[in-house]
Amino acid sequence: MPNGRHIIYDYLRTTKRFPHMWCPGCGLGTFLGAFLRAVDKSGYTKDQIVLISGIGCSGRISTYADFNTLHTTHGRALTFATGIKLTKPGLKVIVIMGDGDATAIGGNHFIHAARRNLDITAIVINNSVYGMTGGQVSPETPLDVRTTTSPYGNVESPFDICKLAEAAGAAFVARSTVYHVKLMERLIGRAIDRKGFDVLEIISQCPVQYGRRVGLKSPVEMLQWQKDHAVTQEKARGMSEEDLKDKIRIGALVDNEAPTYQEKLDAMKQSFKGVE
Amino acid sequence: MRYEAGIAGGGGQGIVLMGTILAEAVASDENLYVAQTQSYDPAVRGGRAEAGLVISDEEIDYPEALELNLMVALNQAGYERNAGKLKRNALVVVDNDLVNHIVWHKILRIPFTAMARDKFKDERVANMIAMGALTNLCEYLDSSAVEKSISSRFKGEVLDLNLPAFREGVDYGAKVRGSGFDSVEEEDIEI
């Protein structure tokens, strides 16, 4: 708290009519706090940052934060981000999506953005369910879980977002839970600092549409679940596959250096200048 | 004045390219207007390929060639598709080997594909030979203008192959122009 003033007052919009629309106990507020602290440490000014979101509860983040903000369509935030980044490479482009947003309706855009290695930070806030529309099954809902559209239990296997991102070519892939708030802040900071396509999966809680359906009766129980199921990379190394089965690996999972789309484009454009 | 030409054949024979090059040559004449249309099947090789050319000394209202003064057919199907569009005194130029059944009173048979194969070891230049011949069969096609259009489009080995083929066609066209045209009446056809 520099000079006794909380950072959020520097980064939330004074012109926006609060309160926000998130339910009590939602993980999005905790995430937003960590995100703003990470941005504050990054050295980027508010004018330099473009914050883009999709549709769903997470999509509303762009309304509250005082950057160049863009609230896009469901699943397509990365496509808008692509156009912005390629037009103004100097801007820091950060995309926030939900799990249904990024891996269902936006799955194709997600893997192609990763493949291109555009200089974009993509944050997927995964609460395992469609919250805003009434608790429907998502590509991140575990097997057998009952939701409003899987009333007899989910028969589809969920994606591992981090593995998907890695396979698609993302340069940096990391995961945190909302409970591990300091780690979350550090990883957001690292992703913002890096060049290339960064994917950050945040395991979050939706007490209203998800927790109560899986026997986690309060936000506190859900955070306790996150604490109990998360294992750091160091800890995971000493564990068997069997032990890791229902665990969530957290920390930086992939960290590769590869030329970004922009770097390759710049090199191509440089060659035209050579011809002249 | 309105002069219409139709070029027809199959995908891969360079039909649309012929249309484009010839239209470009006509366009370089400051007294002429030209419109070139095309139509083809989704298959890149084989299937149907057609190009139409409308040449006029005034601005062209309707750009499609539907009443042909000249038809060039590089295969049988191409001829048949366009036979109904021929004007009364139209000239039909066909590939000798690839168009066998034809009924018209003003026909010129030229072995474009055979010449390309025998002389240039490459059937793909049949369209170049055809374009060369046409410069001597259509008053609006100037051989130096067509040659310029070809030269601006290709370079290196491809140009070295295409240009001689085109010139071969020009010479052939000059030769056959004086020798008169075939005429085939209905009863002559063997089926």
Binding site: F67, T72, T82, I84, T87, K88, L265 | -
Partner: protein
């Protein structure tokens, strides 16, 4: 004096876009629009512009909107099936007021239809394909020269009104080559979007400055504002209040309709003394042009209005014809789409005849002439 050249319709659209200042293209391969992407892929990088082939048409349109928000003039090109996919984001561009240009080279449909053949079946999709109530500007060139000129104008209109503009061409116009003399750069009038003049802290992003079109800063210029596909208040924040929703939607429509009289672009032939007038667009207008000439040679008083603007529908010019002619004939290569508009504005003034063809072949002058003869008989 510019040089005469032989140019294809699709290439003329590329040249028009570049002349208008377009520096961003995102697209997905589809015939018969491929040449637009080819041209942009070739021309944009040396101009320090960006070409990107996206994973689909939805993504293409998203990237175009992003580029425009970042300050670039941006466009895409596609055909019917791809145009359908783009509608989600055309709707977004409309509500978020993002200038952009979409070229739809119509081909035979529905669905994958007849991929390389001619049709004019996307008229209604261009107008009403996007969800929700929204205004739309749709232009329709009928020659290679118009492909160039109307593409320049499409950018001008999209920048002026902060709205997506659709150019509807068809397979014949797109692939046809014609001899044209394009204007030089100094002969072309370019309109760039208005930027705010006040400092950021005074900036209210969606306040009507009186013209209906709020000024638009690019991201990164110091005006941190919020862009959203939700109906928003003057600050750009989501609202459900009727007293904010209503004036917002009204403004979206009104910013274009207030200039309705300036958008009556069309060419008239022999309409001074005509007793039968044809209303046509795209390649069919060319056939109509010839048919009208031939009809005149036969002593029939036929006129033609060639529509260059399909939407907002050119009611002024069309109703003027209706007052003078007892019959209007609308030939088109669909089952009757522009004829619906003609009938809509008719209101009993005259008889509206249609001539429809859906075999995905060109409409010939003879077919129109036959219909004229039928009407006269």
């Amino acid at each position: 004096m510019q040089k005469a050249e032989l140019l294809q319709g699709n290439d003329a659209c590329v040249r028009g876009a570049l002349a208008a200042g377009c520096r961003f293209f995102a697209g997905y391969p589809i015939t018969p629009a491929s040449e637009i992407a080819h041209g942009m892929a070739r021309e944009l990088p040396p101009l320090d512009g960006t070409f990107i082939q996206m994973e689909d048409e939805i993504a293409s349109m998203g990237a175009v909107i992003g580029a425009s928000l970042a300050g670039a003039k941006a466009m895409t090109g596609t055909s019917g099936p791809g145009f359908s996919l783009m509608q989600e984001h055309i709707s977004y561009a409309s509500i978020a007021e993002v200038p952009c240009v979409i070229i739809d080279v119509m081909r035979g449909g529905p669905s994958t239809g007849v991929p390389t053949h001619l049709a004019q079946g996307d008229v209604m999709q261009a107008r009403w394909g996007a969800h929700g109530d929204h205004p739309m500007i749709v232009l329709a060139p009928s020659s290679v020269e118009e492909c160039f000129r109307l593409t320049v104008e499409a950018f001008n209109l999209s920048e002026k009104y902060r709205t997506p503009v659709v150019i509807l061409t068809d397979e014949v116009i797109a692939h046809m080559r014609e001899k044209v003399i394009l204007p030089s750069a100094d002969e072309i009038k370019i309109f760039d979007r208005r930027k705010p003049t006040q400092p950021p802290e005074w900036f209210v992003p969606y306040r009507d400055p009186g013209t209906g079109v709020p000024p638009m800063p690019a991201f990164g210029e110091g005006y941190r504002y919020h862009v959203s596909g939700l109906v928003h208040d003057e600050m750009g924040y989501p609202t459900t209040r009727a007293d904010e929703v209503d004036p917002f939607i009204q403004r979206l429509f009104h910013k274009i309709s207030r200039d309705f009289d300036k958008l009556q672009w069309g060419e008239e032939y022999y309409t001074d003394d005509s007793t039968l007038d044809i209303v046509a667009f795209g390649s069919v207008a060319r056939a109509a042009q010839r048919a009208v000439k031939q009809a005149r040679e036969r002593g029939m008083k036929v006129g033609l209005l060639k529509l260059q603007v399909l939407y907002p529908f050119m009611r002024r010019k069309v109703t003027k014809l209706m007052r003078n002619s007892p019959t209007i004939l609308v030939p088109e290569i669909n089952m009757g789409q522009i004829s619906r508009e003609v009938k809509r504005v008719n209101q009993g003034k005259c008889k509206v005849e249609t001539l429809n063809k859906v075999a995905h072949e060109t409409m010939t002058p003879q077919e129109i002439l036959d219909k004229i003869g039928e009407i006269y008989a």
